[in-house]
């Protein structure tokens, strides 16, 4: 299904529209307040961009350095060419350690890989523990609609109804009570699970560690209680030092939720050590390529700087109106419109690069200065080069080029168009219903053109000048 078709469904969904409206603009406002209160924001943003860009320049060496250091701490580093291979590796680890239940804290790479379905097929039970992800899992494995607020599209009434149905409890309307209910359901899972699976916000080459940023504490529980911890993340997540981590931590939560820092930042280094009273006995890293290596050194390399903060979608007028599910894959909003065609194939996401107004808000707020609209424009160019645009558009463009290359024809055409539009405007300065394309004016007016075209005016002036 195309983006436009999914969008049509979402726009007609009055409940979804109500839910989206409830939170619309809130994250943008929190971010704006956090940025205003932090005088060094721009300087930190510049440095954060530099850090991410510098790692990409020597990504091969940074990864090897990370791997070597992680191995020294007793962790095992595994590599996966794609999501399927990552799933196989994780199932192997689970089998090796006799794992029946896996508690998971949020990992977008796990969504990319479709890990939950793979685990279930292998007879291993995955339990999502981030509140939002848990809600989605018990709602028949619904997909997240935002990378850090996965259930932003749901109302508390919908969650309440879901909990009552799945947990068999009395419906609750208070968000605090709902949160407690999930806490009480999930606590025994943390204590009983054999494996914890986390994502990784950053991999630190200096110490061979993974850094995990959470508010709920589920990330800590997943990486502390079970016997085995697997950190599943993309190969682009390396940063050189703990100082660099500190810089990125000044900008990630502020960009994401407007927090100066998240409640928890955990730096995890290797398995349980001699004398440690807690922690996993085995620690694994699964580093996934999944299309990332192909971006390095090319037009889209800057996309690998992404730190998954969600600011671009929080500021996107299209995302805010249609919600995350319209984008069709795990990454929504502007970053999704770039990543989905790159990771899934341009022909798999035909209209995603078009799913933006190129208003540029996303690149203004992106904490690592990714020129998202420019990347979308490049993807559009690639679509044209590969002949992936619909025949009607190609024909239209060709016709346009043919006319534009013949000034006399163009002049006649524009004169006719002006007459037609002014006729539609009926003497006013706005057109209320656009005759040939009424959809264009279903939500807005179209400005009526001036009486004389630029070419007429210019010609008249030239004549006047000569006189």
């Amino acid at each position: 299904m195309y983006f436009v078709d999914r969008v049509r469904q979402r726009l007609d969904d009055t409940e979804l529209q109500r839910n989206l409206k409830r939170t619309r603009g809130r994250n943008a406002a929190s971010r704006a307040a956090a940025v205003a209160a932090f005088t060094d924001f721009d300087a930190v943003r510049t440095r954060a961009t530099e850090i991410r860009a510098s790692v990409l320049r020597d990504l091969d060496i940074w990864l090897e350095r990370f791997e070597q250091k992680a191995a020294e701490t007793g962790a095992t580093v595994l590599w996966a060419r794609d999501g399927d291979e990552a799933c196989r590796l994780i199932i192997d680890i689970a089998r090796r350690h006799g794992v029946r239940t896996v508690v998971k804290s949020k990992s977008m790479v796990s969504e990319e890989a479709g890990l939950n379905a793979a685990l279930e097929q292998a007879g291993i039970r995955p339990v999502e523990t981030d509140l939002g992800e848990y809600i989605l899992q018990i709602n028949d494995n619904e997909a997240p609609s935002h990378i850090i607020m996965p259930v932003i599209h749901k109302s508390k009434e919908q969650v309440s109804e879901l909990f009552a149905r799945v947990h068999g409890t009395a419906p609750k309307t208070d968000i605090e009570d709902l949160t407690r209910e999930a806490r009480e359901k999930l606590r025994p899972e943390f204590l009983g699970a054999d494996m914890g699976l986390s994502g990784g916000n950053f991999l630190i080459a200096e110490t061979g560690s993974v850094a995990i940023v959470t508010n709920e504490g589920n990330g800590r529980l997943c990486t502390t209680m079970p016997r085995v911890h697997v950190a599943l993340t993309g190969i682009e997540k390396v940063v050189p030092t703990l100082d660099d981590l500190s810089t990125l931590l000044r900008i990630l939560p502020r960009s994401a939720t407007g927090q100066a820092i998240t409640n928890y930042v955990s730096l995890l280094t290797g398995p349980k050590q001699a004398g440690d009273p807690d922690g996993p006995e085995h620690m694994y890293f699964v580093l996934v390529d999944g299309g990332r290596a192909d971006l390095l050194g090319g037009d889209f390399e800057s996309m690998l700087r992404c730190i998954r903060c969600g600011a671009c979608m929080n500021h996107c007028p299209v995302y805010q109106t249609v919600g995350g599910h319209s984008y069709g894959w795990v990454y929504p909003g502007p970053m999704g419109s770039v990543l989905t065609p790159l990771y899934q194939g341009l022909d798999q996401a035909l209209d995603l690069p078009q799913a933006a107004t190129l208003c540029n808000q996303c690149s203004v707020v992106c904490p690592v200065s990714i020129p998202l609209p420019e990347l979308m424009r490049k993807l559009r160019e690639k679509q044209v080069e590969r002949g992936l645009r619909p025949w009607s558009e190609r024909l239209g463009m060709r016709l346009w080029a043919w006319v534009a290359a013949r000034p006399w024809l163009y002049a006649i055409g524009s004169r006719i168009a002006v007459r037609y539009l002014r006729w539609l405007a009926e003497g006013r300065d706005r057109i209320q219903v656009m005759g040939v394309a009424p959809g264009w004016t279903s939500q807005r007016d179209f400005p009526a053109p001036a009486e004389r075209t630029f070419r007429d005016l210019y010609a008249a002036q030239r004549r006047g000048g000569r006189r």
């Binding site: 409830r22 060419r81 509140l131 607020m149 259930v151 806490r183 820092i261 730096l267 922690g279 390529d289």
Partner: protein
């Protein structure tokens, strides 16, 4: 069949233009970067780091009590627990075993918290003024679970451990810790979630309340 590792690193080397002529220089650059970590822009800090720490910690919804006399820590802790109507049987990190907890009327257990513990007490390696954050390093004397499983977390923060920012805390860790800890947890107030309708609720999966006793 070549391994995934070889394939991925091979592709990356091809993309970064790696070859015998530049590999050694790039490795040297990587090692240098790690040996001489470069700080990014660090916000300027006031003289009084303790006051800033208190203000920022409260902003993250930690509660704070100043306790000048270290010997008074158990009594202050007990008083706060009573005031809040909380259980008086905390599990205390071994690093704080020397304090006279029983003398203050607390039925303490020294060790690592389990699922049934309701109050956990920890020290802290450093505390960060910039964000009002505790830096907890796991180890034999400082279990990570004490600040995680119980619904209430009480942390003892020596005044001298309060540093300006995370960079300063890392510097201290690099200099002082013989073994790098398995887990370094930065804790800023009680756990929370805003997943449902973006309404902030405290006590998601970790503690509902974090109380700081600033000592010295």
């Amino acid at each position: 069949m070549s391994s995934a590792r070889d394939d991925i690193l091979g592709a990356l080397r091809c993309r970064t233009g790696r070859g015998p002529d530049n590999a050694a220089a790039a490795c040297a650059h990587v090692e240098r970067t790690i040996l001489q970590p470069r700080s990014g822009p660090r916000p300027s800090m006031p003289e009084d780091l303790v006051a800033l720490f208190v203000e920022r910690a409260q902003a993250m919804i930690s509660t704070v009590d100043l306790c000048p006399d270290p010997a008074q820590v158990p009594a202050r802790c007990a008083r706060w627990l009573r005031e809040q109507g909380l259980p008086l049987d905390p599990v205390v990190a071994p690093s704080l075993a020397d304090l006279d907890w029983r003398g203050a009327g607390l039925e303490v257990r020294i060790g690592a918290a389990g699922g049934g513990d309701r109050v956990g007490v920890t020290g802290c390696f450093r505390a960060i003024a910039e964000t009002g954050t505790l830096m907890l390093c796991s180890g034999p004397d400082s279990p990570a679970v004490n600040s995680l499983l119980p619904e209430t977390h009480v942390a003892v923060v020596p005044r001298a451990h309060i540093v300006a920012d995370m960079e300063a805390a890392w510097q201290a860790a690099r200099a002082e810790l013989a073994v790098w800890p398995r887990a370094v947890n930065f804790v800023s107030g009680p756990s929370r979630t805003a997943d449902i309708e973006q309404t902030i609720v405290l006590g998601a999966h970790g503690p509902y309340r974090v109380h700081l006793l600033i000592v010295g």
